[in-house]
Amino acid sequence: MKRIFKKFGSSALVATLLLGACETIELDLADNPNQLSLDQSSADLLLNSIQIDFATFVELMGQNGADLVRIGYLNGRNYQNITNLSPVQLNLEWNIAYQGDNAESLDSGLEVNGILADIRALAPEAEANELFRHTAIAQFIEAYTIVTLVDFFGDVPYTEAIQATAETPILNPNVDSGASIYAAAQALLTSAIANFERDVVNEPPNDFYYNGNWGNWVKACNTLRMKIYLQSRLVDADAVGNFTAIVNEGNFIDETSEDLEFQWGTNAILPDARHPRYADNYTPSGGSDYLPNWLMNLMDEGDDPRIRYYFFRQVNAVPGEEIPPDEENLACSLEPTPQHYTDGGFTFCTLPNGYWGRDHGQNAGIPPDGFLRAVYGVYPSGGIFDDSRFEGLSVGDGGGGAGVTPILLASWVDFMRAEIAMLADPSSGEAFVLAGLSKSVAKVQSFGSLDSSADLSFAPTAGAVTNHSNNVSTAFTSADDDGKWDVLAEQFLIALYGNGIDGYNFYRRTGFPTTLQANLEPEPGAYIRSLNYPADFVNNNSSVDPKPNQTIQVFWDTNPASPTFPIAN
């Protein structure tokens, strides 16, 4: 018995060791089963990601640009320390452009993947399978993205970017000069146009911008080339000529139906497909962004027919205007107007008619005014049409977030052409300004139907639209040369509502308008000529240092240094 046990015991021991230990000594377990491997990628699915990320990128950069030219509200009395433009805050924009962090998302929940890394991953498959349309869309997006990075940040990595898996991996990419990136963008667009015009077997199943209208894509490419030439006109003697050449070819976005824009949806959860500004502001606690008093006042005073589409008022009066001041909800309504506001003729704190917003730079704590302040309207973010209902918003109201992010609009092209025309002769810009205004108003008005609950009898009549146009015309013709530039600039900025990228560029290029509301702080420091490098960039890349301050100018900005320029600081 003992012997049997012994034998049995020993063999059991050996068997346990061999069998039981077997799986524990398997040493080839390096593959990650939690995700796909790179060779399982699909060009269609990569392109989906690239397109959606691009919209998010433009949306966020458009917001940054808008805040800097008072078509958005900028919180911060010291231009060097603007909270929303701190290096950390700009990580998100940077990451969308290049590569997103794990499960990175906007606060509202919309996820981001990163554009350029996916474009590079798309290239080999697109090339092998002759997916020219895929390539062309990616080239357009890449061109717009890198140009925008240069416009906001200055020199950024490009030729050494996305090279971490190259034969000689680059983990600290050097920056390229803005000028060379501009040139690269032009080359990408030339190639994109050719690719859009080639025959392909497999088209992308999803084209979120033009739904497969490749002719419009070519126009978009040409329009982006015009935009790039215009932006570089201070440093490129040929820019105006190149711009005009494209205009003369006539194959650019000149009809609103050809507008390049991204259409958002209404689904709130899994995924959040709503317009990001809608998602942020149509919440159970009311609005979270303030609207800029400068823009609201400009449009209110000018009887701008777009005002009810742009802003939704939740109340009919702001404390300190038609009703008594309110210390709790609008502390500044009890404060005296700062001297420099009086001197500059700016409105302070309050506006009539319920346009409850904030002055440029105001950094007071946030009172419980989420259902009192004005919020984004039906254009472009898919909110509520302001039919003087004067009610607090509810989640899902208005267009439910099914707005657009405008990227290149026909109306803007008119303002770009106005600028070119006015370089030669300021008075020659009028026709373009009025054309741009007209296209913009028509487009914005078409958004009224997005809010099915709206009482559109409050929509401006054709007569009101005409009157407004005439007023702009009068203002333009009666103004001196600088005044004409101011009119152009103001009208351009109003039309840019929803995407301030071109507004920020215009302002640094021309210095107009000079009428922008000054910072609430009398000494806010020099104007922001380019943004801080994002934290993830300077902290993790030993090839670059943080910028010393906000006064560094991008390559095409040869205007005088701040504070001399721009005038309206």
Binding site: L13, T24, I25, E26, D28, L29, A30, D31, N32, N34, Q35, L45, L46, N48, I52, R77, N78, P87, W94, A97, Y98, Q99, G100, N102, D107, S108, E111, N113, G114, L116, A117, D118, V156, A161, A164, I170, L171, N172, N206, N267, I269, P271, A273, T283, P284, D326, E327, E328, A331, P368, G370, E391, E521, A535, D536, F537, N539, N540, N541, P546
Partner: protein, 1090 residues
């Protein structure tokens, strides 16, 4: 397991056989210990001869001797006894315990028992008396202060929250620095799976996951026989890579069946404790809600005074409009009558229309908390067969720990069985089996910077919306739930703060863990010198997590959160461990003894996570996935195998010098083939001058002196799958016209096929000594540790195409000193006499970053990218980085024209979270049947970035902010012209703009703290009272935990407790995101044996 001692015994026996003298007669008798229990294995020799024997299991012996000869009785841990042989034939001896415990045997790596004097490295031991009957059910916390070299931080005072254990400081910043837990000889997972960390990315777990338990919570401290802490690498070489952070060797009562009493014994411990919040701030009662002395339903408390008159009197805010401001009686319109109608509050609460709200301090925060009760019961049964060859132990434990936070509870059942049988066929079989069922629940504790939960959070924060409650807000009295739709309602007029009571009632985080762990071992004794051990260890836990919240939450933009969510997932974690060890024990010559251990071992660890995350609740308060509109997947899998061989050989020369050589080779499964294998050796030596130099040792001078030195190496392997680069697929990235859009995207982690193991080297020297009749004992260790080829989870510039990569860089050097000093101030020879002993331990450690590799100068490895713990060359590992006050070239602070500091963006060193040193002093006093002990803890230094302090000050809540008349002028110069700043700012501007929302530098405080960690008063019934009862012993103990603490350098009124891990259990340190109130516990415990 053969020990050195048994080898000596063999030697002695051999002598007996060879050399026998003529004997006159046979002496027999029984040897017992101090308690009268028989002592088996006592060595008995006739002095001056080689004649010797041993007692049998019943303590009986028989030996031949002549009258006049002396019998010498020796036994480990007992004083030597001498008896002269007289006329009788029977000599019974009762031995006394030897306080010197010279030849104490302790358990070392791989369960190898060795004499303490032979060890060339430091081992701390904590016995069951220091672990039982404690107010905390978490063994990690119970260890606090009880051994040098340990730094234990709790995540918070929540019952069941995680615990961070660091031995000898940080040596790595990407790998885990948590020690290896070995329970009864086999590995035991002690990880912390934070409840928020469901995306599998550990980087941001702490944001939501401040609620996970550390899995050593599954052990009942009452069931632990002893804990040995192996601190250095030389001690832990045999455990390989997993032992690199030190090893907590736990022997449970089930696992320690050796030496079991023959008589069956039942021990019952029953405790009742109370649990309170210890870290409540001293709230001021002079000012209420508002800003700039004006009233408003704000987050902040800078409003008017509760007094009528004066500069800040509420009378200034009287408004004729009843909806607005104060009336003449100093009352306000009820906030639920004036809330924006879009919130639905006025409609839902018509009863508050026209109701006035008194302007008084409501003392809301203290009333939110309650006193929890902690009930703990455990039963232990042990016994052995008559011949002592079969022994068993069984126990049962139950803990019901109710937190001071409503909704927080920890309930645990443990059952364990263990036993050992020495079979007659040279086999010895032993095993333990333990089962535990742990149910932990808490309201969600997402990180907060002082405005409710962080925006990145996907859960709510019960504390993040609580501690800043303005004094004039009646948290308890204001209804928290909308009667119409169940949503949260609160005072803020746009309803943007989630009511903390709503969070308690409607949100829950729960972890129910079922765990089985145990081992089975079979030893075959070839002969007295050689045996072979096979041991199988199994540790499986199934952690069932729930994270849920009803729809109607407020205060965060995340639509998913507001819609109501229900996430359920299971973490099944498995460790399979096989050991096959050959143990030998030989004498090479008469002077030189040798033992060796050679083994092969393999370990497999698997974490398998599966679950569902639902959102879009349909029917309120129904938590089933079927009641939710959207379902998303939760799935994650991780596995790793480590196979190893090891060998250890110990030599001694004449028992005064001991040498240990060991080496181990590991092979790991998740690296590329050429980087998979690593070998690391260790050597240690112990030298005992008091044995070799007779003159050195004297009763009144040096009683014992041992010098030791050890050199150890180890390696650290990465976890996860660092070699692979992946492609992400997302099937719900976007929705276009109702159709879900699927995307591919390159994964953010760059795979690294060249990744190598991290290498650690440590040299340590130490001494162990006793002086002056054993009144003083001193143990000291000094070590230097180098970590090379650090595995770094390196953040990459996204323009590289990736955001992270695990890579090897640089070098960390650390050193440290550990001192253990014991003083027997009074030591009475009589039973029941007055005894007073003091034991102190002192720990200091440094880790400096020597090199980070060529192409990077800073790596922020924990926290957020902008504010976190960083590795910077030349700095202490883990320094806090964040924004600072801008300075000019002369180093003066820059102030803007409004009088506030200018913030300089970037990653500047703003603090060092590593404590300078830690001192623990335990006093133990006994007299008659009373014993009294208290443990004091002092931690010097260690900075903490505290959002709790910033929020309490910045929002004007504590007594520190009462003085609001004076103005501040920030020291510095005006940025514009460099002139000395003279701009006056008021109290709220200073605290709100600068401390709360200014440069991070201003939120850093020194964490020096003194603490009465434990205090206990016990009484045991005298034996004579028990004689006629079934009880063998009966004692009652009153215990307190954390009854007093004081952080010396934080604002007085904040009463901040720096012992908390705001970044969760991991490598982060020195951060507080409003998630860590600490607990105070006290109560009574009864222990009886029968």
């Amino acid at each position: 397991m053969r020990t050195k001692l048994n080898g000596l015994l063999t030697l002695l026996l051999a002598f007996v056989v060879h050399l026998s003298f003529a004997q006159d007669k046979t002496i027999s008798g029984t040897v017992t210990d101090a308690d009268g229990l028989p002592l088996p294995g006592v060595n008995i020799v006739v002095e001056g001869t080689s004649n010797g024997t041993q007692t049998d299991f019943d303590g009986n012996y028989a030996i031949s001797a002549s009258v006049g000869q002396t019998l010498l009785f020796t036994y480990i841990g007992q004083k030597e006894e001498r008896r002269t042989v007289g006329a009788g034939n029977s000599i019974n001896v009762q031995m006394e315990e030897d306080a010197q415990a010279l030849e104490e045997v302790i358990v070392t790596a791989q369960g190898i028992k060795r004499e303490k004097q032979a060890l060339g490295y430091a081992v701390s031991e904590v016995g069951s008396e220091a672990l039982e009957q404690r107010t905390e059910g978490d063994v990690g916390r119970v260890l606090t202060g009880k051994a040098s070299g340990l730094n234990i931080t709790q995540q918070s005072g929540l019952s069941g929250s995680g615990t961070n254990i660091i031995i000898r400081g940080f040596s790595s910043f990407s790998g885990s620095n948590q020690p290896l837990f070995i329970v009864d000889g086999v590995p035991f997972d002690s990880g912390t799976n934070s409840v928020g960390g469901i995306d599998g990315d550990d980087d941001d777990d702490f944001i939501d996951g401040n609620s996970g338990s550390s899995r050593f919570l599954d052990l009942d401290p009452n069931n632990i026989e002893s804990v040995n802490v192996l601190k250095g690498l030389a001690a832990a070489t045999l455990y390989g890579t997993l032992g690199r952070n030190g090893v907590i060797l736990i022997t449970t009562k089930n696992g320690s069946s050796t030496g079991a009493v023959k008589k069956n014994e039942i021990t019952v411990t029953s405790s009742l404790f109370f649990n309170e919040i210890a870290s409540l701030a001293d709230y001021q009662n002079q000012f209420g809600n508002g800003f700039d002395q004006a009233f408003g339903w704000f987050f902040s408390n800078w409003g008017p005074s509760f007094e009528r008159d004066g500069v800040a009197g509420w009378i200034n805010g009287v408004d004729p409009d009843p909806e607005d401001g104060f009336d003449e009686n100093g009352t306000l319109a009820h906030p639920y009558s004036t809330a924006s109608s879009a919130t639905g509050i006025p409609q839902a609460f018509p009863e508050f229309q026209g109701v006035r709200y008194p302007w008084i301090p409501y003392n809301s925060v203290p009333r939110f908390f309650k006193t929890g009760t902690v009930k703990s019961n455990s039963v232990n049964i042990r016994g052995a067969s008559e011949d002592g060859k079969v022994s068993y132990n069984a126990n049962f434990g139950h803990l019901d720990d109710e937190g001071f936070t409503p909704g927080n509870n920890l309930r645990r059942y443990t059952i364990g069985l263990g036993g050992r049988a020495i079979l007659s066929n040279k086999f010895t079989v032993a095993g333990t089996l333990n089962f535990s069922n742990t149910d932990f629940r808490t309201p969600p504790v997402a990180a907060s910077t002082g405005n409710g939960a962080l925006n990145q959070a996907t859960g709510s924060s019960v504390f993040g919306e609580l501690f800043f409650t303005p004094r004039s807000v009646d948290l308890i009295g204001l209804p928290f739930q909308n009667p119409i739709d169940g949503s949260s309602v609160y005072y803020r007029q746009n309803n943007s703060i989630q009511h903390p009571l709503w969070t308690v009632a409607n949100a829950k985080v729960q972890q129910v863990t079922n765990r089985v762990f145990g081992n089975m071992s079979l030893t075959y004794n070839f002969n007295d010198n050689l045996n072979l051990l096979y041991r199988f260890g199994l540790d499986v836990f199934s952690e069932n997590n729930i994270n849920q919240q009803n729809k109607g939450g407020r205060g965060q933009p995340n639509a998913e959160l507001i819609s109501g969510f229900y996430q359920t997932w299971n973490n099944t974690n498995t460790i399979l461990n096989h050991d096959l060890i050959l143990n030998g024990d030989y004498d090479l010559t008469e002077q030189v003894g040798m033992t060796f251990n050679a083994g092969i071992t393999s370990r497999r660890e698997i974490l398998d996570r599966n679950g569902v995350a639902s959102s879009g609740q349909q029917v309120f308060d129904v938590f089933r996935h079927v009641n939710f509109a959207n379902q998303n997947e939760i799935q994650f899998f991780r596995e790793r195998n480590i196979a190893a061989t090891f060998i250890q050989a110990d030599f001694d020369y004449d028992r005064w010098i001991f040498l240990t050589l060991a080496g181990r080779n590991d092979w790991v499964s998740n690296l590329d083939i050429e980087n998979r294998s690593v070998f690391y050796p260790s050597a240690s030596v112990s030298f005992i001058p008091t044995t070799v130099f007779d003159g050195l040792k004297s009763e009144k001078g040096i009683n014992y002196l041992k010098l030791r030195a050890g050199l150890g190496t180890s390696a650290n392997f990465p976890t996860g799958f660092p070699v692979a680069t992946n492609l992400n697929i997302n099937t719900q990235f976007f929705q276009d016209e109702g159709v879900d859009i699927v995307t591919n995207s390159v994964g953010n982690r760059l795979g690294n096929p060249d990744l190598q193991p991290e290498l650690l080297t440590e040299f340590e020297v130490g001494l162990e000594s006793r002086f002056f009749n054993n009144v003083v004992s001193l143990e000291a260790s000094y070590y230097r540790r180098t970590t090379e080829d650090l595995i770094v989870d390196r953040p990459l510039d996204p323009s590289t195409g990736f955001t992270r990569q695990q890579t090897n860089v640089g070098e960390i050097k650390g050193d440290g000193l550990e001192l253990d000093l014991g003083l027997n101030l009074f030591s009475s020879p009589d039973e029941g006499g007055f005894n007073w002993s003091v034991n102190g331990n002192f720990t200091t450690s440094n880790s400096t970053v020597e090199d980070l590799g060529a192409d990077t100068d800073i790596i922020v490895y924990s926290g957020f990218n902008d504010i976190g713990n960083a590795a910077i060359e030349g700095e202490q590992l883990g320094v806090l980085v964040g924004t600072r006050i801008a300075r000019n070239e002369a180093g003066e602070f820059l102030v803007d024209s409004a009088g506030d500091y200018i913030e300089e963006q970037g990653q500047f060193v703003i603090g060092d979270p590593n404590p300078d040193w830690i001192l623990n002093v335990n006093n133990s006093i006994s007299y008659k049947n009373f014993n009294f002990s208290f443990l004091l803890n002092y931690t010097q230094g260690g900075d903490i970035y505290s959002r709790t302090i910033s929020t309490l000050l910045g929002r004007g809540l504590t007594t520190d902010t009462v003085d609001r008349i004076n103005t501040f002028i920030l020291p510095g110069v005006q940025e514009s012209d460099g002139s000395v700043n003279t701009k006056q700012i008021n109290n709220s501007t200073f605290y709100f703009n600068n401390v709360l929302f200014g440069p991070d530098e201003l939120g850093v405080y020194d964490g020096t703290v003194i603490r009465l960690q434990e205090i206990a008063l016990g009484y045991s019934l005298p034996k004579k009272f028990l004689d006629k009862t079934p009880f063998g012993s009966f004692s009652i103990t009153a215990t307190g935990l954390n009854l007093f603490y004081k952080a010396l350098n934080v604002p007085e009124g904040t009463n901040f407790d720096p012992n908390q891990a705001g970044l969760g259990v991991g490598n982060g340190r020195g951060f507080d995101f409003l998630a860590g109130p600490s607990a105070r516990r006290y109560g009574i415990s009864v222990k009886a044996t029968f």
